[in-house]
């Protein structure tokens, strides 16, 4: 059976089937994604309009990036409830501190990234050194930093430099946001699937004890994973802030829940050790198109929350059924 495992065997039909078996969640997510696109183009004549498509892209980049941040922690076997507060903190910091000089744009952006990494490291230390479950640790930091954001800015006010906002969301004829998505996706994919660090994240999520027995530094891997997750959250936060152009201390609130939903829809299991970067793209697409359709049909945006909750339950039920098989 396994006498020769040459290269062409790795590409044989059998292995393609195996690949499907291993990655069926991703395939299913894409099937749903394309089905939704089909449904959207049939049910709405403006869906394929350039304006709507552009809108779809730039309004969902933030969610995609924050999903990547969540994905790293979920792969580790945890969950990060603090991503929303990182977004609020970064938004408040950027709006309060940024002036009209290019120097301040760069400096404050870097400061924002440091805020993200810092909160991530705090999460990691609480989980590893404090031996607290990630859901509790990040619930605490979420509360602390969401509160801090409100202390700094008690109500929505202020704006970000409009040139910067323009560039991030429409720069180079919409090429910049497009490239941002591509570059971030490729970077995350490489991090997860082509580095020792990424492999260690999967191993820790798969079985912490087995990882330990394999000489993987479990504690360090966790802290670093939370730090990287914080960094990506900060990047997402900057984008979300530039997209909204204004200051709002509650801007991040909904993102925690949405990022968990999309990561799970993309095929990650909440016990860890399994996730898909490529699937996130379609998962965010699904959420985005549903919202887009509801907007086009002038349905109250509150329904979107209801629908997202239902989708999360369906996705979790689906993965539970699969793992029982």
């Amino acid at each position: 059976m396994n006498k020769e495992m040459s290269k062409d065997k790795l590409l044989s039909k059998h292995n393609l089937r195996l690949l499907y078996k291993r990655k069926s969640e991703v395939v299913i997510v894409y099937v749903i994604f394309f089905a939704l696109i089909l449904f959207a183009s049939l049910s709405s004549d403006v869906f394929w309009g350039t304006r709507n498509l552009r809108n779809l892209l730039i309004s969902n980049i933030g969610l995609l990036l924050i999903t990547y941040a969540q994905l790293i922690v979920i792969t580790l076997g945890g969950v990060d409830l603090s991503v929303g507060s990182i977004i609020s903190m970064v938004n408040v910091a950027a709006v309060t501190l940024m002036t009209d000089s290019v120097g301040s744009w760069i400096l404050i952006s870097i400061l924002c990234l440091i805020i993200g990494v810092g909160i991530g490291i705090i999460n990691g230390l609480l989980v590893v050194k404090g031996n607290i479950q990630s859901i509790i640790a990040t619930l605490a930091t979420q509360t602390i930093f969401a509160g801090t954001a409100l202390l700094i800015m008690s109500s929505p006010k202020g704006t970000l430099p409009s040139e910067l906002c323009q560039f991030f969301t429409r720069g180079w004829g919409y090429l910049f946001p497009f490239l941002l998505v591509i570059v971030m996706t490729v970077l995350i994919w490489i991090l997860m699937f082509r580095t020792n660090f990424g492999r260690a994240i999967f191993a820790v999520g798969g079985s912490e004890q087995a990882a330990e027995c394999s000489g993987i530094r479990v504690g360090r891997t966790k802290i670093m994973a939370f730090a990287v997750s914080g960094l990506i959250s900060a990047v997402a936060a900057l984008y979300i802030s530039f997209y909204s152009t204004s200051g709002n201390p509650l801007i991040g609130e909904s993102y925690t829940q949405r990022s968990i939903t999309t990561a799970v829809v993309a095929g990650a299991t909440l016990v860890g050790g399994k996730s898909s970067v490529i699937g996130c793209f379609a998962a965010v697409g699904i959420m985005g198109i549903i919202n887009n359709l509801l907007n086009l049909m002038h349905v109250s945006s509150y329904y979107q929350f209801v629908i997202q909750g239902v989708i999360l339950i369906l996705a979790l039920a689906f993965s539970a059924i699969r793992s029982r098989k």
Partner: protein
Amino acid sequence: MRPSIEVRNIDKTFVGVHALKDVSFTCYPGQVHVLQGENGAGKSTLLKILTGMYRPDSGEIWINGEKVNFRHPIEAKKNGLAMVYQEMSLLPELTVAQNIYLNQGNKRGFTDERALLRAAREIAQKYNIEIDPYARTADLPIAAQQMVEILKALAAEPQILILDEPTSTLTSTEVDKLYQIVQELKSQGKTVLFISHRMEEIFRFGDYATILKDGSYIDTVNLRESDENTIIQLMVGRELKSIFPHKNTQKDAEVMFEVQNFSDNAHFHNINLQIRRGEIVGIGALDGQGQTQLFQAIAGLRRRTSGTVKLNGKEIVYHNVRKAMKLGIGYVPEDRKGLGLCLEMSVGDNLSMASLRRRQKFGFIKKKEEAEQANQMVKRLNIKTASLLQNVVNLSGGNQQKVSIGKILEDVPKVLLLNEPTRGIDVEAKQEIYRLLRSLADEGVAILCYTSDMMETIGLCDRVLTLYEGRITGELGEREGALITEENIMRGAMNQKVQKTTGLEDGQNE
């Protein structure tokens, strides 16, 4: 007299393993009956059938003259059977009283805490045990917890009490207490079924002993009329199947790996061992004598309070697994599913997991090299998998075990520690692993191995150290002048003197 327990022709087969073969024995009220046998002789399975955890394939159980057919431990309890489990079944956050009367004392769904405390105090007094019923269980020392466990079984006022290794965590004062309790039960005409690896306790507590071997009934002896030798003779005598590779032919090779004065002051004490080039050294012991903790300490997974390690004559220092692995010490843990593998990850990812640092450039994985090495390992160990992408969970036990070993081999260890390398796998895979270990030893890897199957220890190992309660009690091998026989291993494993072939000296087994 009417027998209290009658086991008639019990047969039980698990997937591929015939655990109990037509076992029958009888116990009478007012007696302490000892069950005795090697690892895997079928003691635990028999107890689990008695208490309703397993159901026999065939055969009957009669309790107090009535045929019973327990489907759940609760039914056994209702019929007057109570068991003190080896692994503690107490809930650490509850009080002593709550634990003793767990699932009891409910008054229409409510619990009466005061009544619980009173009852717990009474039963402790009755059996002359000093314990605070209001104490949080986790705060008690381990020996006191064991006494709570025993009280919990006694609280059900059983006709038949089963004690599975009850003394392994007790101090001698508490063992005396337990002795008195058992005497009290005897005088009340109750039956006690007793398992212990301590020979002196078997004779102190027991009236009769039933010996099992390889799942079969061997004999029941009156302990007042027999001695240690008789018991050991009855326990041993299994057939050595010729499925093992050749033994080490090199004589007087240099010492490659040495462990000196290893202690953790809890599970193992003052362990000294040497492995010569080309040698497979075995640990001969009953289960739970500290071998796992010793392996973990050598592998850097567990702290030790004292001890040094020498590799090729030079002392090496490490305080974690990672460093130990870098220095060339590889450990294959006993539980492949929990400790050895990430089941939901692929064969390829698992194989490379312990050697990531060997195939990296600035933290990036060299995928081509990784796949090549994994493919080589699949071929070398004859791992039957459709591809490297297959998830480990879909492989058979034997192939999972091979992945668990192969993962450590990819890190090219100089010293290989294996804990239960063949547990629960088929004979063919076992043989493949024996051959692999021998060829590794021939290539110069120092191998230390524990397996609960003593025949495997005999067939595979060039030298055997016997371990009893965390201490080395004997050394068997040609150089040591003591043959590696089942009897000698059993003697060492039960803290008896091993028999020397020369007969000139008495040896130094303390």
